[in-house]
């Protein structure tokens, strides 16, 4: 049987999280808003209106382009893409065509190890990156069409990869890394379920090692990363079956039915539509002068994959820790701030984050920057534990107390008397009390049941509210029991 490889390219539409739309001052995000409430003459294409470019959309586009290693054009242009559709109120979409904001670019996507394969990195090249406006939404109800113009004019980046992906998993990994990057840069909420990140997949297969490309199909309407993975895998299997059966792959457009887990044919791909692109005369050329560009690029953070590599090297973290800690920008920043404030072993900070702080974040729905348990407080708790002022149990409960009250750990420790008692005379006194109060157990111990030592330690700890240094208590008890 021939071995096949899949050739996959992804076309993504990224909704930028600007406050207002790209060409008017309507609110951009209409999630949960009733239809046709965030609209105005401009975004509904009234006669005589004109677009005015939102600079914030350009700035977010520039950040993303730079993060994708794309080349930014000092002068780019907007063009009209002409076609008729009821939810496209002007009858053309303002987009960028041959001279878009940026060109080229790539992302190195780490692909984790899986059954029989070691981890590797896939370089995904970017073919197209441009700014455009979104269209509205059409809903068919019976034989009527309901149109919601809220989404008209919402700023989008269209980004198209080269056919560089070779499996459904790789496609999913690319989207995971893209989503991470978009959130990291703060340019998009990147929520696929809410349509902030939309993805169409072009899929074809060929015998492994072949150089040519077979006709591809386009998969639309995939609303989650899992669905992308599943839809592509399903389509690859179908194409292999077809080819094995000696049939040709037709250039269909397919729609993923998530509930049924099947692909449905939407239409046979017609010849390429002629959109009659021409320069948008209502907008001036977009000049990204050096000054503006630099003022945008100074906001460029270290990127997630770079930071991941640095964490591994600089802090000697396991890859697993580094991956989780750089999963989200504020968490990674939290980690570094805590490491710096702590001054001790970074792995200890990582352990606290991965076990306790992450659970706290998951339960509260906050991000790391929103915690009242600041990196400085976490570092203080770690220091208290390291110095032996508090024991581990106290440290863990202290995390929660600081988060709840927002008070400094030291303040809570002092007020509640949580500091570990390592004053030998104080512990000795309690030990004597415990031994005096439990003559039977003392007798049993001395008769050889030395396992009771732990029980005595427990009694001491209880009397001292858990603050006694347990090792010291153990040593003193042993001393006293073995004495007489």
């Amino acid at each position: 049987m021939t071995e096949y490889e899949a050739i996959i390219g992804l076309e993504t539409h990224i909704q930028l999280n600007t406050t207002t739309k790209i060409f008017c001052s309507c609110k951009a995000d209409s999630w949960n808003d009733p239809p046709n409430t965030n609209i105005c003459p401009v975004c509904t294409g009234m006669p005589g209106v004109l677009p005015v470019l939102n600079r914030a959309a350009v700035e977010k586009g520039v950040l993303l382009a730079a993060a994708m290693h794309s080349e930014l054009r000092p002068i780019s242009y907007f063009d009209r893409k002409n076609y008729f559709y009821p939810d496209l109120p002007k009858g053309y979409q303002i987009s960028q065509y041959d001279q878009s904001l940026a060109f080229g670019g790539w992302m190195d996507v780490p692909v984790p190890a899986s059954a029989g394969k070691t981890a590797y990195v896939r370089r995904v090249n970017i073919q197209k990156l441009h700014l455009e406006e979104d269209a509205g939404k059409t809903k068919n109800v019976g034989n009527r069409r309901w149109i919601d113009f809220n989404r008209c004019g919402v700023p989008l980046i269209e980004m198209v990869t080269a056919p560089d992906l070779r499996s459904a998993d790789e496609a999913a990994q690319y989207l995971i890394r893209l989503r991470q990057l978009l959130r990291w840069l703060g340019v998009s909420e990147a929520d696929m379920e809410k349509g902030h990140l939309r993805c169409d997949a072009n899929v074809s297969i060929r015998p492994k090692g072949a150089e040519y490309l077979n006709p591809k199909t386009e998969i639309k309407n995939v609303n989650s990363i899992d669905a992308v993975r599943e839809a592509i895998a399903t389509e690859i299997e179908r194409q292999v079956r077809e080819m094995e059966a000696g049939r040709r792959i037709e250039a269909w457009t397919l729609e993923w039915d998530e509930d049924a887990g099947v692909l449905r044919k939407m239409r046979s791909k017609e010849t390429e539509a002629d959109y009659r692109y021409f320069r948008e005369p209502d907008l001036l050329p977009l000049r990204l002068d050096e000054e503006w560009k630099q003022s945008i690029l100074v906001q460029m953070p270290e990127l997630p994959l770079e930071r991941r590599a640095r964490f591994i090297e600089q802090y000697a973290l396991p890859e697993y820790d580094a991956d989780i800690l750089t999963g989200e920008r504020s968490l990674s920043e939290y980690f570094e701030a805590a490491v710096k404030a702590f001054g001790g072993d970074p792995k200890k900070v990582s352990n606290y984050l991965m076990n306790d702080v992450l659970r706290m974040l998951n339960e509260s729905g906050k991000n790391a920057a929103e915690l009242r348990l600041t990196p400085a407080y976490l570092a203080q708790i770690l220091q208290l534990a390291e110095k032996g002022t508090i024991n581990t149990t106290t440290a863990k409960s202290l995390l929660q107390k600081v988060e709840e009250s927002g008070e400094a750990p030291q303040v809570i420790v002092e007020r509640e008397g949580l500091a570990r008692v390592s004053d030998e005379s104080a512990i000795r006194a309690v030990c004597q009390q415990v031994l005096a109060a439990n003559p039977k157990e003392v007798e049993s111990y001395r008769a050889g049941k030395t396992t009771l030592l732990g029980w005595f330690v427990g009694q001491v700890m209880r009397q001292m509210g858990g603050k006694a240094d347990p090792n010291l208590a153990r040593r003193l008890l042993e001393e006293m029991l073995n004495q007489s």
Binding site: P47, G48, L50, R80, P86, D282
Partner: protein, 532 residues
Amino acid sequence: MELCDLPAYELSLLLRRKQVSALEITQSCLQRIEKVDGRPGQLDDGKADPQDEEKVHAFITLTKKRALAQANAIDRKLAAGEDPGPLAGIPFTVKDIFCVRGTPSTAGSRILANFVAPYTATPVERMEAAGAVLLGKVNLDEFTYGSSNESTAFQPAPRNPWNPACVPGGSSGGSAASVAAGEAPLSLGTDTAGSIRQPAAFCGVVGVKPTYGRVSRYGLIAFGSSLDCPGPLARNVVDAALMLQTIAGLDPRDSTTANLPVPDYLAALEEGVRGLRIGLSPDYFQITFPDPQTGEYRQQELPAEIEARVRYAAEVLASLGAEIIEDVPMPNTRYGIPAYFVISRVEAASNLHRYDGVKYGYRTPQPVSDLREMYRKTRNEGFGLQPKLRILMGMYVSAAQYSAQYYRRALRVRTLIRRDFDQAFDPQGKYRLHALLTPTTPTTAFEMGAVYGDSVLMQYADQLTVPANHAGVPGVSLPFGLDENRLPIGVQLLGPDFSEAVLLRIARALEQATESEPWRKLKPQVLRNLAG
């Protein structure tokens, strides 16, 4: 002399001296409209009335109530000692290609006949903020596509007040006719290939096409977006300057407006022309047009009386101290119309996409089986012949397989036309002109029906005006005599970007120097009839 025949600046003076009220001025205009305008343009024009042929028919929508209310408000402000604005109490008409909140904004088309605009165009907003009183919306060629006003879906079409058997020109024909007939001292028009200057010339009024970007297009229902310019029509140069002063300037809602201060157009108006270099070009004394039978290009001299008036204007300017530079080459003038044919139609076809029966305007009342049929029927029934021709041509020349031959080639021609102007106006160049003096039109007003139907020939009416639209430079047309049929002849001044102040100054000098000439005393025929 009735109030409605006085220039805006005089009315303004009388008003401030409390010699007249804004209400009196507005009423005077409304009475004039009542007498000369006849029935307004309507979609279903019913039986032709023989009386129609004697009337001006400038209006589609008369906003009488609104006008009276605005005039009363001005009078109240004046009485209260408040500043009612620089154009307080001055009535004006608006070409029905501008959106004005609460008024039908039809573009002269069936497809927008029921469209009531939800917002007001920037130039209209600025007029109203300055205290000007909106009288109503005036007729035009459908979507401004024409040079005669005959293509409007709202019939009867406007007629030329100088001779109602003739067209007023277009597409700002209703604007020019309303000003010429004394229905309003000012009108707001648009100029895409000459649509302000050509009807101004035909109707014997002053028309200004400002530099592209000088006046906001926000609210102007687009034709050729890279060519469209709103501008004033008035009965004299001072009034035109006054109005331009009000509407010009940066608009945050139109990103193609220039971020340059607006000079004081009135301050320098009387400073004369001494030392100015004014050019004449042989390329503006002939037209090149395709023979209607053979399609071959022919060259034709302009009518002698038109050329004579331009040369006379040059003599007047020379006598006032200007330097006249002859034989300035403008070799690409002849390509203005073919390039315009392509560029304007590509933009027009795209601009017309939004009229699809979905959101506003006309939708076919017939049953339809699907969306495509709804689009087809709506657009077929809603658009008249001129928009349809522009859509067909525009779609053709912008199609992927033809775009290089037509659209992109036309854009290169446009660059060449711009270069002609750059060379003529270059302060370090050979000619160093402050302005070019040309005829505005190759003919005076033609008779209704004489050209209509030949959309190619009709277009050639704009041959001498369209280069300024390609180049984006400003132009002024001013009346400068009458032909043997007592029809107005216009002369045109073209200048470099943002030279409106200089052009208006030259125009004012020409106007003043010929103030006492007998033709200036003659009134349009519809007004002569009134007196008689």
